[in-house]
Structures are given as structure tokens and as C-alpha cells.
């Protein structure tokens, strides 16, 4: 890299906001240390910093809370890490409009706490929300169990401001909850992992907080029965906010016994939730329900947080984490087959699924032998692909990623995706190489 780049960046953001050399070590991406880390304080500084990097043909990796930097194929080179933590202002919250506009570097929990003061919330519940930033959540399309009822970031973002590779600010959407003017650019940027531009500002629609919010844990002896239970809930009049199907190992890690369970989120006004709790017991009783526990307050929050945390690397000897997207009716059988595959390879699996959505988080642990991990992940991908679904390696050590593709083989849509990428980032410098199809 031309040594002038850090100096250029210092002139833009001020010397205290540029790191070089060993100072960059907290910002290692998949084993690669960036050449420089820059912390712009305004979106104009983001634009100027990006323009300089692009002009010098140095790749740029955006960095929010750093909670998902291990998602994606390993990058070939990490040049500039562009960290957004100084863009941390909540710009506008109008409770009467149920909207909020924030800068990308705002930590999620801080935003949620601010909204809570007015009795509102942003109906997303991603993992590691204490450190995850709004921008990172959008870039990685992170979500949690409550997507069952409330959708994901794509359903909740109503406007985005992005700095494009040409250093220009681009706004898509707006600040109103309903808007069809122009193309829906926010959809394009959500989940694009920083490959199309740097998110600097977002506007969300909000919801009022419910009077009551409870978590019912319905335990079964067998995962299969819990799976039947999930189908019964989905076919009933119940309107859960979350419906998680978890296996015995996950249940054990959450501190409960049993062969499988449903974790059902219920929110609303008191008479609704009371009726729903009773209805769950009535529905599931004949299906082999072992017992229920109703959690509220900190106990509820802690259980949801623990569930989200299970699939994070560094947790209890996690060897790899894979996500499968299949049809809801395929879940229980596939989870059982996946656990058996892990066992055959001398490993153990813990699995949790969004039962109404058809998304499994499959956590592999119990050994560091890359060969066994690779073999299991390959089998798992085969299981998901075999029923018409897809699979991605959410996390794995580099030695494993070298042998198992992070993403499924891209289909014919890759041409469109590359067409978009080439037009919006002609130099191929925005977080290159990490995304689907090598984008």
C-alpha cells in the first residue's frame, strides 16, 4: 500500500482516529490484519475516507460492532477497516410516527433502551445485541426468534443512507412507513455484507411495546413430538411472537431437561397472553407434552439471550456453526438426521430452529479434528440441499473454511448479482471476496 494512505486518512478524520501497525490487531479479519483502521466521525468523513481508499485501489472492510466479522469467505486482502462506532447518534425519534432515524454505529441495545423510554421498540432481537450495531445488523441481516411474527430487518427498514464506492451519498426509501417511490434500494443493501456501499444512516418503523411479554418452554421427551407440537401451534389460532424448536442438547445448554422443546414467545395484553398460555397446554397435551414453564422478566430475557449466544464462536468448544433454510415441515426430521450425522463423525450437535420460518442453527462441537468437522458440514449441506433448501457456514475456523464453501454454489442469479456489484463497485474494492459467488 502506498504509505501516504494513513496520512491522507489522518487529514480527513484527525490523527487520533487512525490506527496503523500493531494497533490494528483488534481488527483482524479472518486472520488478516488490516493495514490501517479509520474511524470517521461524520458521514461526510466516511465518504472522503472511502474515496481516498478507492482512488488508491485499497480494499475497504466496514466494521460495526465486530460481532459478525467471521461470516463469509475469507478475504484475500484486508486493506482499510472503516469502523463506524463514532457515528453513534440517534438522530430523530418521533414516537407519534413510530419511526426512528439513527446513525449506523449505534449499538443496538442502546437504541432499544432509548425507544423503551417512550414505550416503543424496534422489533428485532439479534444475538450479541449489546455490541452489535445497527449498521452491522443491517449489513448481515441479523435477526432472532421474534422474526416469526415481526419479520427481519428488510421488513423494518424504511430508509437507508449509504456511501457508495464513488464516495457519493445515496439514499433509498425515506422516513415514512409506506413508500413505493423508486426502486426499493434498502432491500438491496440489507444483507449485502458491505459489498455495495457503507451504510451510514437508517430509518426504521417501530412498534409499541406490549403490556405483557412471556416465554413458554414446552418440553417433550422426543424432538419429533416437539416438531408435531410446532405444527399444531402453527395451525392454531395462536399468534406467537416467536416459535423455536430446539433439540435436547440445546435444551440442556439452556439449563433444562428433555429430548426437545418449543420455546414460544407470547406478547400482547394480559387477557390475550393468559388465553394463549392455556391454549398451548390444551393443544400440546395430547402430543406428548412433558411440562411447561412460563418465564417472564429477567429470566425470560436471559433465556432468549442464551439461546442467541449458543451459536457464537468461543462458546463451549463450538467447532462450527451452519444455518439451513428449509420448509417448516421438514425441520424435525432434518434436525434428527443432522444430529445423527454429527454423531457418526464423532462430534455432537445442538440445534435450534425458527419453527415457523424453517431456519435451523446447527452447532457442531466436541472435537477440533478439522476432517470430522468438514465431513459433517458436507453431510449437513447435502441434507439441506437434498430437500430443496440451502445451507451456509455461519462460522468455522479458517482450516475448515479452506475445505468447505461458506455459501452454496450460486445458481443462475449470480449473473444479476455480479451485474449489480460491478455497477455499484466497479473497482471491486468493497469487502471483496467474502460474499456469495466470490462477490
Amino acid at each position: 500500500m502506498p504509505s501516504a494512505l494513513p496520512d491522507h486518512l489522518r487529514r480527513i478524520v484527525g490523527a487520533p482516529h487512525v490506527l496503523t501497525g500493531v494497533e490494528c490487531s483488534p481488527y483482524v479479519v479472518e486472520g488478516r490484519t488490516p493495514e490501517v483502521v479509520v474511524f470517521p466521525g461524520t458521514r461526510e468523513e466516511v465518504a472522503a475516507a472511502l474515496a481516498v481508499a478507492v482512488e488508491q485501489r485499497v480494499p475497504v472492510t466496514p466494521w460495526g460492532g465486530g460481532t459478525k466479522m467471521w461470516v463469509g469467505s475469507p478475504p484475500s486482502r484486508v486493506g482499510v477497516v472503516l469502523a463506524l462506532k463514532r457515528l453513534d447518534r440517534i438522530l430523530e425519534h418521533e414516537p407519534g410516527d413510530l419511526t426512528v432515524t439513527v446513525e449506523a454505529g449505534v449499538p443496538f441495545d442502546r437504541l432499544q433502551a432509548e425507544l423503551g423510554k417512550k414505550g416503543q421498540w424496534l422489533s428485532l432481537d439479534p444475538a450479541a445485541s449489546d455490541r452489535a450495531t445497527v449498521g452491522g445488523i443491517l449489513a448481515s441481516d441479523a435477526s432472532g426468534p421474534r422474526r416469526h411474527l415481526y419479520g427481519t430487518a428488510r421488513d423494518l427498514v424504511i430508509g437507508l443512507t449509504v456511501v457508495g464506492a464513488d464516495g457519493r451519498l445515496v439514499r433509498g426509501g425515506g422516513k415514512v412507513v409506506k413508500n413505493v417511490a423508486g426502486y426499493d434500494l434498502p432491500k438491496l443493501y440489507v444483507g449485502s455484507f458491505g459489498t455495495l456501499g457503507i451504510l451510514v444512516e437508517a430509518t426504521f418503523k417501530l412498534r409499541p411495546r406490549a403490556d405483557v411479554d412471556q416465554l413458554v418452554i414446552a418440553r417433550f421427551d422426543r424432538l419429533k413430538d416437539a416438531g408435531q407440537g410446532a405444527r399444531a401451534v402453527l395451525g392454531s389460532d395462536l399468534i406467537p411472537s416467536a416459535l423455536e424448536l430446539v433439540d435436547g442438547e440445546t435444551l440442556r445448554r439452556l439449563g433444562h431437561g428433555g429430548g426437545g422443546a418449543l420455546l414460544v414467545g407470547l406478547d400482547g395484553i394480559a387477557p390475550q397472553v393468559e388465553w394463549e398460555v392455556a391454549e398451548i397446554e390444551r393443544l400440546l397435551g395430547p402430543l406428548g407434552l412433558g411440562g411447561t414453564r412460563v418465564l417472564d422478566g429477567p429470566e425470560r430475557d436471559e433465556t432468549w439471550r442464551a439461546l442467541g449466544g449458543l451459536g457464537r464462536p468461543g462458546h463451549d468448544g463450538v467447532a462450527a456453526v451452519m444455518k439451513w433454510a428449509v420448509l417448516p415441515t421438514q425441520l424435525a426430521e432434518l434436525m434428527d438426521a443432522g444430529a445423527a450425522a454429527a454423531q457418526r463423525n464423532g462430534l455432537s450437535a445442538a440445534m435450534a430452529a425458527h419453527a415457523g420460518i424453517g431456519l435451523v442453527t446447527a452447532i457442531l462441537s466436541g472435537g477440533a479434528d478439522p476432517g470430522a468437522v468438514v465431513a459433517t458440514l458436507v453431510e449437513w449441506r447435502g441434507l439441506a440441499n437434498g430437500v430443496g433448501g440451502h445451507a451456509m457456514v455461519e462460522w468455522a475456523p479458517l482450516a475448515v473454511k479452506e475445505r468447505v464453501a461458506v455459501w452454496d454454489a450460486p445458481g443462475p442469479t449470480l449473473r444479476l448479482m455480479k451485474g449489480i456489484k460491478e455497477r455499484l463497485d466497479p473497482g471491486g474494492l468493497l469487502n471483496p471476496g467474502r460474499f456469495v459467488g466470490g462477490i
Binding site: D184, L234, V326
Partner: protein, 490 residues
Amino acid sequence: MPPLTDARKKSLRREMEALLGAGGVLSDPDELMVYESDGLTLYRALADFVVFPRTAEQVSALVKLASREGIPFVARGAGTGLSGGCLPAEGGLVISLMRMNRVLEVDYDNQVAVVEPGLVNLHLSWAVGPHGFYYAPDPSSQQACTIGGNIANNSGGPHTLKYGVTTNHVLGLEVVLPDGELLWLGGKTRDAQGYDLVGLFVGSEGTFGIATKIVVRILKKPQAVKTVLAVFDQVDQASEAVSAIIARGLVPAAMEMIDQLTIEAVEDAFGCGYPRDAAAALLIELDGLAAGMEAQAERVVAACRDCGAREVRAARDEAERALLWKGRKSAFGAYGRVSPAYMVMDGVIPRTKLPYVLGRVNAIVAAHGLRVGNVFHAGDGNLHPNILYDPRKPGEEARVVAAGAEILKVCAEVGGSISGEHGIGLEKADYMPFIFSEADLACMHQVKDAFNPTGLCNPGKIFPSNKACVEVGPAYRPHPIEEKGLAQRF
């Protein structure tokens, strides 16, 4: 596009008939005239051909043929659009999808349906209704409009306040790209890897290709529904009630406002039980579990009373509920009682700006010597000012268009949008700079180029451009089914 010679037309017609059969191609000017407009009859453009494929492969073959010949093409559903989005602005081919109208598959366990684009929106809810399901997006033209058209426009409806718009309900699309390639975006499973091409395609107003199969979510019908009518002596009180209901932690399924002029027209036409002397009425619908429904309704009633409602009542039975909704949904036909024509606008504002903006709308229209009726999605802040006018009076139409532009400018000034659900189409292409910068539009254009590099797929829409090939001409007149209150425009 330069006009096609007669010889070339003949040979193209032969080629398309070979693809579709003799009944699948129209090229006689008298027949083409049926397809010269959509629901916004202010604009007209004549196609060279209107074709009626029955399969995705036929659509693909037609698109390949058009590409080969350099002829523009545009997909068309029921033609109920309100922004001129499906007009053949530069001539060429109109590809009608009305013969592709089947429900292909319903998977109740996984709560998805696969349908063809020409399926009428309401017919999907009819098809799945006996199993206790429905399709949530409910544009007010749902008795006529198609799911494919809904995809193009990302259509909304009264119940989007709680359930979201079309894009929140579409999981996958089989599409014919502008070069004729047939492929799937997304599918029945969630979180397709890569960019959200489904999210991008929905609402692209037919400029990214033609959807030939659509995977949508179907929802369980709610256990209970409660519809409340609140009557106000001042419009501001009704506006405040909208915010007050939300402030009480409620998300109604729908919150619709109807102003005095509209109430009078509706009562003249249908007698739905709205008080004629009210300045505004709010129609509020709650749905969900039966348990707690009364308690929620009480909160709504209290919020309305606190804001000065002079009367608040809940529909006692399904018949009364249907009558109240008829008043809302047939308002458009009812305008025929008070005016020979009207132009419907579609601005969006932050809902807290309702009192201010409604005041400005009335002032703008009055300054142009015209009248306006408002009937709209108050909960979403999605305004529908309907400017009444007489097309026989010289110059009145131009004043309507001028007033409409001023109203949309006001929406933009308060942080809103120039379209909530009708799309930009031809009508508002020149207003895009009200809310988007040159860089915003350039980015959108680059995305368009990735899908539609030749520009042959639905040219002349969305982006500021000339309307040279389009005739502007006589005004809207309500369709007979609108006059009877059987269908309406939004």
C-alpha cells in the same frame, strides 16, 4: 421506436401467432385501444401488439423476440394501475398476463401458495379461505387487480398498517428477465443467499422483467375482528386520534379517514350510516385473538373520546361491519355523484403531520378553484386527496395537475414520499427529484441497467424523462362497477 412498417408487423404477427395460437395476438387498432390506458385515464399510448401468453415459456419466447427485434415490451395485468405504469409508452408489445391466472399450489402446512401473475388478488383469498387462510395485502381494487400487478407496484391496502405491503408477503418469483432468460429469485424457503433480488424486483414497476410464478405467504384468518367508527366535528381531532390510538400501544389492522365531502357523496350513493354533518370519520379495525378484543376496543374508544369524538360505535355484526367498509371502499364511485371527474393523488407523510398537511392540501386545491375529497389510510399517513373537476371546462385539467404537483411537494417537504402504493409510472416520473437526489437516481439507474441493460423492458417509467409518445387526454370517468360500489381504485 420508429413506427413498424406494415410488412414487418405482418411477419411479427405471424411469428407470434405461431407461438401463441391465432387467438393470442391483437394488432387491430380498434382492439388495441382497449389497452391504451390503465386506471389513470389521463394518459394513453397505443401498442403495436397485445399478446396473451399462457405459459412462462411463451412469455420468455415473446421477450426474446422483442429483444431480437429491438421492440419495447411491457407486462400488463388487469390494468387497474393508477400511474400509467403498464402503458406502452414507446409502442411495441403489451404482454397481457390475464390468461396465466391459476393457483398452482397451496401448501397449508408451510403456509405458502404458488400462483400465476394474472390471478386476481381476491381470488387467492377465495381459494384458500375454506381452509381458514387468506392473502393479506388487500388493495382496494382487489376484486379486479392481479397479483402480478401487485408485485410490480408493491401494492398496499387498508390492512397494511398491521400486515405490511406486498413485499412483506412474497418469498419467491419465477421471472423472465429482459433478455428472455427464465429463472427463479428466492423460493419457498427463506433467506435466499446473496442479494435480496426478490425484494428488489417487487415494486420495480415492470422494469426488471416479468414475473411468471409467484410464491406468497398465506396467513391464518384472525379469530376475531372488531370495527369501530369514530365521528369528529373537526378534522384535526380525527388526525390526533390516529396518533392517540398508536400512543396507547395499539396497532390496529386498519385506520382509515373519510372527510365530510366524501361522507356526503357516500351517503348520497349508498347510505352506509356515516353522519353527513361530521367533519371527518375514522374507521378503525382491530383483529386477532378473541381474548382481549373488548379490552382493546375500549382503548380505541377512549383514545377517540379523549380527542373529542362526538360519537364512537362498534359495528354490532358482520352486516354493519360490511356496510361501514362499503362506505370506505366505494368512496371513489361515489364521487361520481358530486363531480364529473376526479384525479386521485397518493402522497405519504409522517402521521403526526396530518393536521398540517390536510390544511395545506385544502388550501392548495382551493387556490386553484377546485374541490377535494379525502379518503385515506390515516394510520400509515398515506393520503389520497381526490381533486374533483370538470374535464369539459377548458383549463381545469391543467389546474388539477398543477395542484397535484403542489400537494406532492408539500408531502416531500414534511419528510414524506410522492407515492405510497400507486407507483411512479409515467405520472410522477418528473416528480422524483422532489425526494431523490441525482446520486440517488443514478444508483437506481445502475441497478436497472443490471436487469434491463437495453431499456426495452417497460421504457419511459419511474425516471424523469419525456412523455413525448404519450397522449394526455380525456379525463377519468368511473367504471360502471365503481359506480355501483363494487370496486374502487385504492
